[in-house]
Symmetry: C2
Subunit: 291 residues, 2 copies
């Protein structure tokens, strides 16, 4: 049985004390890093953690280092009380909610960069974003020392960056990707969906629809380039400003010009008014030819 | 009693098995990261580790990421058998000697940067050097998970970069600086001293002598700028090409124009023929005035 109620911990020292006590009791530990404003996608991460690990830590930290100077750090939603209420209804035992000073004390000057996989796509439009992600996730993994950490596939490039960083630094943790949770109309859940006006909300599912259609065409054997061009045109015609819509190798995120024998991933970012939305879908390799 | 003989371990997995067994027995662990070519300076690190920790791991890894393209990576000495013999005569239980592939497997793409403290001085002349140091030391600290790690003060900027990196990433380890070991004539021990010709070896102690005289003058109340200028001229006149010779804050490595109330450090790098030598000395703050 989990302890009644959710422990809210705000210091690294107290987090370590609690985790050490669990370790001493032989418990395994799962970490779900979040920026709060929790929705069903986050709760699916908590459920995935509970399936694999005896104890679940959910971190809530709106990380200034992963926001660009013109991005929404100041206005990003921070509904702390509602977040704690949502977590209290889950199997999570501990919410780790550090202040900015706890994470980045005076004189903080270390940054982690992942080249290749952390370049292009979102990085091209949010320079420094993945350095901020890799740095804060490395800190959270070192602070918590979990057996596994859980990330949504919605942020697919982030998942790949974190997995590469953890492997490269020999962090003894499994990085687990959890499938995207969607609204009934296909829109991927995101804390930023709250920014959408009613009109924008009606248009937003076109992103997922365009990706599904393009993925199906490419899976059916169509050459990727014209399919992607048509998808971009269709989205643009409906008023979604396309930042990128690309086919990439699912493991390395290297550009894929034609369908190869390896799994691929179709990734996109669009702007709807002042809101930036991302989504992605798998494109499986062709079935082996029987000819 | 230490185990008879030295265990030589070449994989991270085996290192972790051995360290976990020590941990299970309640032993504390000290790590001494080296690039091999061991001398009495390294052995002082091993002795310092033994004073504080029950078990000592010495890593030997000539880290390609901390050498510039025109530096001596290919020719850096690698006397493995002699190094193992030297360690066998110490209290160290384990030599961790990974291959380059073990440390940087295919696709490795993560780098750690420490700004401020890792800029200027050696960094100005060896761009990327401290990124390579910070990255490999972070890996060694995460692989070994020691209670303390030991670094020579001879590489003072490196010590400061490592200490900042470990603090910023929340690595649960104490970074211990160990005083420089010197030849009787004052030359700081370095694996690179082996590069010196007989003539160069006779000139090399002038580096330490110039630093000692300058540190004494500044400690005695002289204004730093002219003292540093004279020291640079004296070294240049004797054929030592000065890369830098600077007074810095001992904790932040920020430039120090005049003697302040905080401890300072006098740091220098010179070239003697094809060999680069570094050294540094403390400059204590002025005694509190009685007037």
């Amino acid at each position: 049985m989990s302890a009644p109620g959710l422990a809210v911990v705000r210091s690294v020292a107290e987090l370590r004390r609690r985790v050490a006590a669990w370790r001493a009791a032989g418990d395994t530990i799962g970490l779900v890093p979040t920026m709060g404003a929790l929705h069903a996608g986050h709760l699916a991460l908590v459920a995935a953690a509970r399936e694999r690990c005896r104890r679940t830590v959910v971190s809530i930290f709106v990380n200034p280092k992963q926001f660009g100077p013109c991005e929404d750090f100041a206005t990003y939603p921070r509904p702390e009380t509602a977040d704690f209420a949502k977590l209290s209804a889950t199997s999570a035992e501990l919410a780790f909610v550090p202040s900015i000073d706890e994470m980045y004390p005076e004189g903080f000057s270390t940054a982690i960069n992942v080249s290749g996989i952390g370049e292009g796509l979102c990085d091209a439009h949010r320079p420094g974003h993945f350095d901020g992600v890799a740095t804060v996730v490395a800190k959270l993994l070192i602070q918590t020392a979990p057996d596994a950490a859980f990330f949504g596939e919605k942020d697919y490039q982030q998942l790949m960056v974190v997995r590469r960083m953890a492997r490269d630094l020999d962090l003894p943790v499994e990085i687990v990707g959890v499938p995207t949770v969607r609204e009934p109309d296909g829109l991927a859940l995101s804390s930023r969906n709250a920014y959408l006006s009613a009109d924008e909300r009606r248009l937003a599912p076109h992103l997922n629809r365009a990706l599904r259609e393009a993925a199906a065409e490419i899976t059916g054997g169509a050459a990727p380039a014209p399919v992607l061009e048509r998808a971009i045109s269709a989205l643009t015609d409906r008023g979604l400003r396309v930042e990128y819509l690309e086919l990439r190798d699912a493991a390395t995120l290297a550009p894929v010009a034609s369908r190869a024998a390896r799994p691929a991933r179709l990734l996109a970012a669009v702007h709807l008014g002042r809101t930036r939305l991302i989504d992605n879908l798998p494109v499986p390799p062709p079935a082996p030819s029987r000819s």
